[in-house]
């Protein structure tokens, strides 16, 4: 058996200042063979990214390697002097980072950023270098490379940047490619393209590849072998088929269980007996790129254009679309957190768009919102109790302090937290708990409709499942209606009664879950569905 391309032996990494160090990677053993793709899976904070950075010795200064060895082709990388590492990085190990938006130097042309690698490692200059740069760009699927090489990162779209990053990583023909969450920041359609690109290049060049992801779907698509990390330890490592057929470690099983699947919805549609709770007609939202008379004439960005939808009491309507499709603007416009350019928002028989500010304030108690990022949605300076009481005070509900405190306690237990938590501050809670608090805040005013804007996308899969369950339970108990905004089709299948698909500010398709997910009519919906990574294996 040939020696492995990369061997990580007993890697231990600690983090933090000298007096308060914590171990973030503990006795990690990993091997990657030539031509093999190892996918390292784990939730946030499991130490998978630090593992990748340790291999190239680029840990942040707060992290320290306290033990272990890394061999590349049987060469001890850790024993090399610091300056010799530059001959390894880029040349022998290519590295693709997670955030293409910030990983490229903003003031350097793409061509130069690719060419730099060639000059540095292969000593190429002038015409030779230029040819290689264009080749490299063309190889990762960038059209018109002559033109593109002269452009700056900000002129590239997200997917193009990620391609450029891959071109840089591959430019000097490395033996090993490390890709750290290469698709997390991208929409599903782009994700599929990038994964395919990585896979083809890896196969073509016979490289080893270490791919890091939190998404089991992604792992399924590209992995030869899957390794699972939890809290700095490797808990399972197995070939792909074996892993997906029967994850051995309980943690792996837990991950699988929490994974939303693109499956037929089991939820019966809500009966159309009464008038819809909310009816939106011809809604448009425009953003002036500038404002004020002396700053020039407004130049509008059309975020939502003539969108219509309706929701009944107790119903969940999922609004699906990729980033920038206008779904968040739509949600906020319904709550009149954004000014409407046109359209009617009829809620409980009243057109919100026509309401005066005072009347609107009173009406607000019936419509509430849950935000995407539970970390930004709460004022860090307020205690949970104060946060939950804010609406009561603003709407002059809930009587005196004692009654309000009782209401807060009730709300907290409703979302599965303890009444004692009312005295704590947001930063003392985990992401999932915070999202529960946000839901509690929205429920404080006993609304009829909750607009949930990607309430789970910032959370790990296991937590995501809990939140979805909570929302479902609340709907059943309180008869809430949800406008559920998401990009994750797997989630849609689980929570929604009906689905509306949004593309470039326009609702392109609407129907029941089963209709849209399994018999899409609009080409955009079709392409969206085609790009979702599928785990076509038997679930345990």
């Amino acid at each position: 058996m040939p020696p492995p391309l990369l061997r990580i032996e007993n890697l231990c990494v600690e983090f933090g200042p000298s007096h308060a160090r914590s171990r973030v990677i503990d006795q990690l053993w990993v091997e990657i063979a030539r031509g093999e793709t190892l996918v390292l899976v784990g939730e946030s904070g499991s130490g998978k990214s630090l593992t990748a950075l340790s291999v190239v010795r680029l840990l942040p200064s707060a992290a320290h390697i306290v033990g272990g060895r890394v061999y590349l082709n049987e060469q001890d990388i850790f024993a090399l002097p610091a300056h010799a590492m530059s001959a390894i990085r880029g040349r022998r190990i290519g590295f693709v980072f997670q955030e293409p938006q910030v990983a490229l130097n903003p003031v350097m042309t793409i061509g130069d950023q690719v060419g730099e690698v060639l000059t540095c490692h292969l000593g190429l200059r002038g015409r030779a270098r230029r040819t290689r740069v264009l080749d490299a760009l063309a190889a990762v699927g960038i059209d018109n490379p002559e033109q593109r090489a002269r452009e700056y990162p900000h002129q590239f779209s997200g997917g193009m940047k990620q391609r450029a990053l891959i071109a840089i990583a591959l430019a000097a023909e490395p033996d090993l490619l490390i890709a750290d969450e290469p698709t997390t920041a991208l929409d599903v359609t782009l994700q599929a393209q990038i994964l395919t690109l990585l896979q083809t290049e890896q196969r073509r060049r016979g490289m080893g590849m270490l791919l890091i992801t939190h998404d089991l779907g992604v792992a399924w698509q590209v992995a030869d072998r899957v390794a699972v990390m939890q809290a700095g330890r490797l808990v399972e490592s197995a070939p792909r088929q074996a892993f997906y057929a029967a994850p051995a470690h309980p943690y792996s099983q837990q991950l699988f269980a929490a994974l939303p699947r693109l499956a037929a919805s089991a939820r019966p549609p809500v009966a159309a007996t009464e008038a819809p709770l909310l009816e939106v007609q011809g809604l448009s939202v425009r953003f002036p790129r500038r404002w004020g008379w002396w700053r020039g004439t407004p130049d509008n960005l059309h975020a939502v254009e003539g969108a219509s939808l309706s929701i009944r009491r107790g119903e969940t309507l999922a609004l699906v679309g990729e980033s920038g499709s206008g779904k968040t603007s739509m949600g906020r416009a319904i709550l009149r957190l954004l000014p409407l350019a046109a359209g009617r928002v009829v809620f409980q028989g009243q057109d919100l768009a026509q309401l005066a500010p005072a009347a609107l304030r009173l009406q607000r108690r019936h419509l509430q919102m849950v935000f995407q990022d539970p970390y930004a949605a709460m004022n860090p300076r307020l205690q949970i109790g104060e946060i939950l009481q804010e609406g009561l005070i603003a709407q002059q509900l809930g009587g005196g302090p004692a009654e309000r405190a009782a209401r807060v306690a009730a709300l907290l237990s409703q979302v599965g937290l303890l009444p004692a938590h009312a005295l704590r501050y947001p930063h003392e809670f985990s992401g999932g708990q915070r999202q529960r608090i946000c839901i509690a805040r929205a429920l404080a005013l006993a609304p009829a409709l909750l607009v949930c804007d990607e309430p789970t996308s910032a959370l790990d899969v296991s937590v995501q499942a809990q939140i979805l369950a909570l929302l479902e339970e609340l709907q059943q108990r309180l008869g809430l209606a949800y406008l559920f905004i998401t990009h994750n089709l797997g989630v849609v299948a689980r929570v929604a009664h009906r689905v509306a698909v949004m593309h470039r500010g326009v609702i392109v398709e609407e129907g029941t879950v089963n209709q849209v997910l399994f018999a899409p009519r609009h080409p955009y919906t079709q392409s969206l569905l085609a790009a979702v990574p599928r785990l076509d294996v038997r679930t345990p």
Binding site: S61, R361, Q368, M369, N379, P380, R381, G391, A394
Partner: protein
């Protein structure tokens, strides 16, 4: 019986102390406020600097309780209104020689004509009236005396500092970590240094005397209050303006924003020094027209100081306002502000509850950062004759007076040295402390301790 005569600036300073105490109380109760301060407290340098600042503050506070004696003092030279510090330092205050004398000198710096017993006029270096008056004039005796006194002072200071540590440290700091050790050492050093200085100052002029024979050490101590007042009260003036206008502009945008931006762009377009100069002239005019309102010199100087703070505040609120506006623009798009609006909260409530608390870190950072530059600005402005009243003890006045002394031969260096070093001590401590505060409050965590922002243009250079 002495009665309390509060000057306006005293009132302001004590008010500020009360606000500080109130803030500390709030901070102790509210974890989000407390956490960054805990981070500040963990830095050894910061805590040591804080100790130094506290000593300066204590001096300023002692100097900010003014008493009036109703009984007529025996010595006619004594002015009626005195601060507690003046009373404590009575030997320094009254030990006035005729003119220059060097530190620890026994004789005056320059000759004077003296009538000898024979009735002849003679030029000689006269013996000082107060400086080293008790000790023999020989070199050895004086050195011995100085050593003995310093030793006594050091021991007394050490004892005092130790007892203070014994009482205060465990309670305030909880545990004896590195920072607490540094603070303890600083306190000990300050105690010993202060003890030695005070023990010597009663008998010697430790920093010499100035042109009219006043003790320079005493002047340097009195200047602390001026520097501190300028550094703090200015922010007090600038803060409400900047806070209200900046946050409102950022939150409401539109016309409010245009108006506020217009205001501060216009104000900051005017060169600061000229604005200060023009306003200083205005003040002079006012005082002349209302001369009867300022019966005592102290009240005049005091009002002028307050006015200077006001003027500096008006010229310096713009940069803070700009920062706050930018921050408010960011905050208004935060989800929790949207959430509050969705809950039906009024604008006023949103501003008060969500925006203002979340820009306070900027306010605190700016306040501590501006402090040192304001102390330095005072000296520069006083040099330009648009600073504090010439009758007021201030480092600017000391430097201004002392710069002529550099041309003397032999050099009269002590006045300048005393002013510069005591100012340096305060500014250095303030800078170090400000750094720690910024690191603790700035959400962008940085790699290392010292992370300044763009230096604001200094007034003088």
């Amino acid at each position: 019986m002495p009665t309390l005569v509060p000057l306006w600036s005293d009132v302001c300073l004590w008010l500020l102390v009360l606000v500080g105490l109130w803030y500390a109380r709030q901070a102790r109760r509210h974890e989000p406020l407390r956490a960054p301060w805990r981070a500040v407290r963990r830095g050894p340098m910061a805590l040591a600097a804080a100790c130094v600042l506290l000593v300066y503050l204590a001096i300023a506070l002692l100097d900010s309780v003014h008493l009036e004696r109703t009984t007529r003092p025996a010595d006619g030279a004594e002015t009626a209104i005195l601060s507690v510090l003046d009373v404590l330092l009575t030997p320094l205050r009254l030990g006035v020689e005729t003119s220059y004398s060097a530190p620890f000198a026994t004789r005056a710096f320059s000759q004077e004509s003296v009538l000898t017993s024979a009735g002849r006029v003679q030029r000689e270096y006269p013996r000082l009236r107060y400086g080293a008056a008790h000790s023999a004039e020989s070199q050895g005796a004086r050195a011995r005396d100085i050593f003995q006194r310093s030793a006594t002072g050091a021991v007394a200071g050490l004892a005092l500092a130790l007892s203070a540590l014994w009482l205060a440290l465990p309670a305030a700091l909880g545990r004896t970590d590195r920072a607490a050790r540094a603070a303890g050492l600083t306190l000990l050093a300050l105690g010993v240094g202060g003890g030695v200085l005070l023990a010597l100052a009663t008998r010697y002029h430790v920093f010499g005397t100035d042109k009219v024979g006043s003790d320079v050490f005493y002047q340097a101590l009195k200047s602390v209050r001026t520097g501190l007042l300028i550094g703090t009260l200015t922010t007090l003036v600038a803060l409400p303006l900047a806070l209200v206008l900046g946050v409102a502009a950022g939150y409401f945008r539109g016309f409010t924003d245009d108006l506020v931006q217009y205001f501060y762009t216009t104000l900051s377009a005017i060169p600061g020094v000229l604005l200060v100069a023009a306003s200083a002239l205005l003040l002079d005019a006012y005082m002349t027209r209302h001369a009867e309102a300022f019966t005592s010199l102290l009240a005049r100087a005091d009002l002028r100081l307050l006015a200077l703070c006001g003027i500096l505040g008006i010229t310096s609120w713009t940069s803070l306002c700009r920062l706050l506006r930018a921050e408010a623009l960011k905050l208004r798009e935060m989800d929790f502000v949207h959430a509050a609006r969705a809950l039906g909260a009024r604008s006023g409530q949103i501003l008060r509850q969500h925006l203002v608390p979340n820009v306070m870190h900027i306010v605190i950072i700016t306040t501590v950062l501006d402090f040192s530059s304001l102390v330095l600005a005072e000296a520069a402005l006083t040099y330009l004759d648009i600073g504090v009243d010439p009758s007021m003890d201030s480092w600017g006045n000391m430097i201004n007076a002392a710069r002529l002394e550099l041309a003397r031969e032999p050099l009269v260096w002590w006045s300048l040295a005393a002013a510069l070093s005591s100012m340096f001590g305060l500014v250095l401590a303030a800078n170090i402390f400000a750094d720690a505060v910024r690191d603790a409050f700035d959400p962008r965590q940085r790699e290392f301790g010292l992370t300044p922002s763009a230096p604001t243009a200094r007034v003088c250079e």
